[in-house]
């Protein structure tokens, strides 16, 4: 008889939990009707000059370089707010690959719960679950050329080009930043706050746009100085990749304006 009761309690609690689970899911879906649309637009620069493939720039150390390729991963985008609970995000499984060669990749559109938000947060890189989870699709498709095949793992950022200061064949510069193993896990959360008084207000049916400025100069001139003449490339996970990634984390800043339409 006693075990019988136990059964009841277990069943009841599981049932309630599951039911509750389905309702909360439902709520999220119902809420979709109260959602506003948010576009997040990434634009690449070298300091204040818009980045264009084939054009020559100077980094903060007056080293000239030209870019052929610039790509990086962003995932798990979410908006956060001062009020506990008021946050909105997209599935942590969703990744985006920014590619300077593909203007369509500069923009991410998410649907967000109505509310007032203090800032935006995203993972710069790819989390270890997706690094070790086998064959992925979408932005993480290994076809995208952002996967190391002999030492498995995603390259979270690729900057390739040339510089007269590089001592590599063809004066190439090649920064492939990746690695998910501690202590050299390169992926990290970037958190950008809107200016006080300029919080992002999302209302249902409204379209908003947030502009994220991506300054490649920070790759060189960040927490650690990376000089092209000394370090023209990075091709493996490790301390150098980590150092460059820590620099790159600072590439991101919010453009002043939040556009609302």
């Amino acid at each position: 008889m006693k075990t019988f009761r136990h059964h009841h309690i277990i069943l009841l609690s599981m049932g309630v939990l599951l039911l509750f689970g389905s309702f909360t899911h439902k709520n999220l879906r119902l809420d979709a009707r109260n959602n506003g649309e948010l576009k997040i637009h990434f634009s690449a620069y070298s300091n204040q000059s818009p980045l264009i493939i084939g054009k020559t720039y100077s980094n903060s150390f007056q080293e000239k370089f030209t870019i052929d390729r610039f790509r990086f991963y962003v995932g798990g985008i979410r908006l956060f707010s001062g009020d506990a609970g008021a946050e909105s995000g997209i599935s942590a499984d969703d990744y985006f690959l920014f590619d300077l060669a593909d203007s369509a990749s500069e923009e991410i559109t998410i649907s967000s719960k109505a509310g007032t938000y203090n800032g935006i947060e995203f993972l710069f890189g790819v989390d270890s679950i997706h690094n070790t989870g086998g064959a992925q699709a979408g932005a993480l498709d290994p076809r995208r050329g952002m996967f190391w095949t002999w030492n498995s793992g995603y390259v979270i950022l690729k900057l390739e080009g040339t510089s007269p200061l590089s001592n590599l064949p063809g004066h190439a510069i090649e920064y492939h930043v990746g690695g998910y193993r501690r202590p050299n896990n390169v992926s990290q959360i970037v958190s950008l706050a809107f200016q006080k008084g300029k919080e992002l207000k999302i209302e249902s049916g409204m379209k908003n746009q947030v502009n994220v400025h991506v300054n490649v100069d920070k790759l060189f001139n960040g927490l650690t100085s990376i000089h092209i003449n000394a370090t023209p490339s990075c091709n493996t996970p490790g301390p150098l990749a980590k150092m460059i990634a820590d620099n790159c984390k600072q590439m991101f800043s919010l453009d002043r304006s939040i556009e609302t339409r």
Partner: protein, 353 residues
């Protein structure tokens, strides 16, 4: 009351389920068809690869088998997976130190046999590959091996009506993408289970060791099984067995992956199952025979900072020891595995080419 609870439970579970099926769009990438049960051999631990999001099916496995034997996965059509992984050699390359690849080049390492791969957390001699599903990317994109890229492979497969049928049978629609290709290949490679050697039959009480094999087994347990641990005959660790570095290959093994000096010259302990079929031996195939490998343990071990402590004094082996050991290692050959038709080239692979 109880019935009510059960109904509540079932209906809410159904609600939950129906929600999940609606939202998880990528589930459409999963396999349809006839499920196959993956049987864990008696005495084996649970495999690392659990076919998560890649339910093992007859059709998925069959697609994987076609891909494994198809030259289209290589640039010039001559180097399917099976060109280096030959079934009669337990899916190693028969009698080759290094394997032939694209444009008269050689692979960097000796091709290991492929069996019980589902139990390996990390693949390749240096453990650089972290998942069985993405392993094929390494040989496919390696310019010395298959020298191909995924876009090209997808393009070639899309033109082939056989694959139209095979992908449709496996996934419900004929769409081809890298994830489907890789998961199907994993269905095949993970299914290569070898656990029916004489050794296994003895362990199951169906057979007994000969008077040579029995002492060989005892020596093995004393001197070898701390690394070549039963029942997989590897503990999957990385060890330096006192092998010198090849001056042309400059292969420092595990250090290439971790960047740690302490991993210099460490290689993954290979399984010794089917070892009679997988020669030559060692990560670069430098040992032509098993007895030359045993001579190494007996008298060839080179001391260095990262040498495995178990081998500080080598492994003294008398001629008798070697004789018995080799007799025992012969019991690890699994003829039913190398003759298993399920793993052989599909009849129509010629057509597919």
């Amino acid at each position: 009351m109880k019935i009510l609870l059960v109904i509540l439970f079932i209906s809410s579970a159904w609600l939950q389920f129906s929600f999940l099926t609606k939202t998880k769009k990528e589930d459409r990438a999963s396999l349809i068809g006839t499920p196959i049960r993956f049987v864990v051999p008696k005495g084996f631990p649970q495999p690392v690869y659990q076919f998560k999001n890649n339910t093992l099916t007859k059709e998925g496995f069959e697609l994987g088998r076609f891909l494994f034997y198809d030259g289209k996965l290589s640039r010039d059509g001559n180097f399917p997976c099976a060109s280096c992984h030959q079934q009669f050699a337990a899916f190693a390359t028969f009698e080759h130190r290094l394997s032939h690849g694209y444009n008269n080049q050689f692979s960097y390492r000796n091709a290991p046999g492929l069996f019980n791969v589902a139990w390996e957390k990390e693949l390749h001699w240096d453990g650089g590959i972290n998942h069985i599903e993405i392993q094929p990317l390494a040989p496919i994109t390696n310019p010395h091996e298959m020298a191909e890229d995924l876009d090209d492979i997808i393009r070639k497969l899309k033109k082939d009506s056989t694959y139209h049928k095979l992908f449709k049978a496996a996934y419900g629609d004929p769409g081809i993408n890298s994830q489907r290709i890789l998961r199907a290949l994993a269905q095949f490679t993970a299914s290569l289970v070898s656990a029916n050697s004489k050794y296994d039959r003895v362990m199951r009480g169906e057979d007994s060791f000969s008077s040579y094999e029995q002492p060989g087994y005892q020596i093995f347990q004393q001197k070898c099984s701390s690394c070549h641990r039963e029942p997989l005959f590897t503990d999957l660790s990385y060890r330096n067995t006192g092998i010198s570095v090849d001056s042309a290959l400059l292969d420092y093994g595990r250090m290439r992956i971790t960047g740690n000096k302490t991993d210099s010259l460490k290689f993954k302990v290979p399984s010794l199952r089917n070892v009679f079929l997988t020669g030559p031996y060692g990560h670069d195939g430098r040992f032509p025979t098993i007895s030359s490998m045993l001579d190494h343990y007996n008298s060839g071990v080179i001391n260095s900072l990262t040498l495995d402590p178990l081998l500080k004094h080598g492994i003294p082996l008398s001629n008798d020891d070697k004789f018995y050991l080799i007799a025992f290692l012969g019991t690890l050959t699994d003829t039913s595995f190398v003759n298993d038709k399920r793993f052989s080239a599909p009849e129509s692979v010629g057509e597919v080419k």
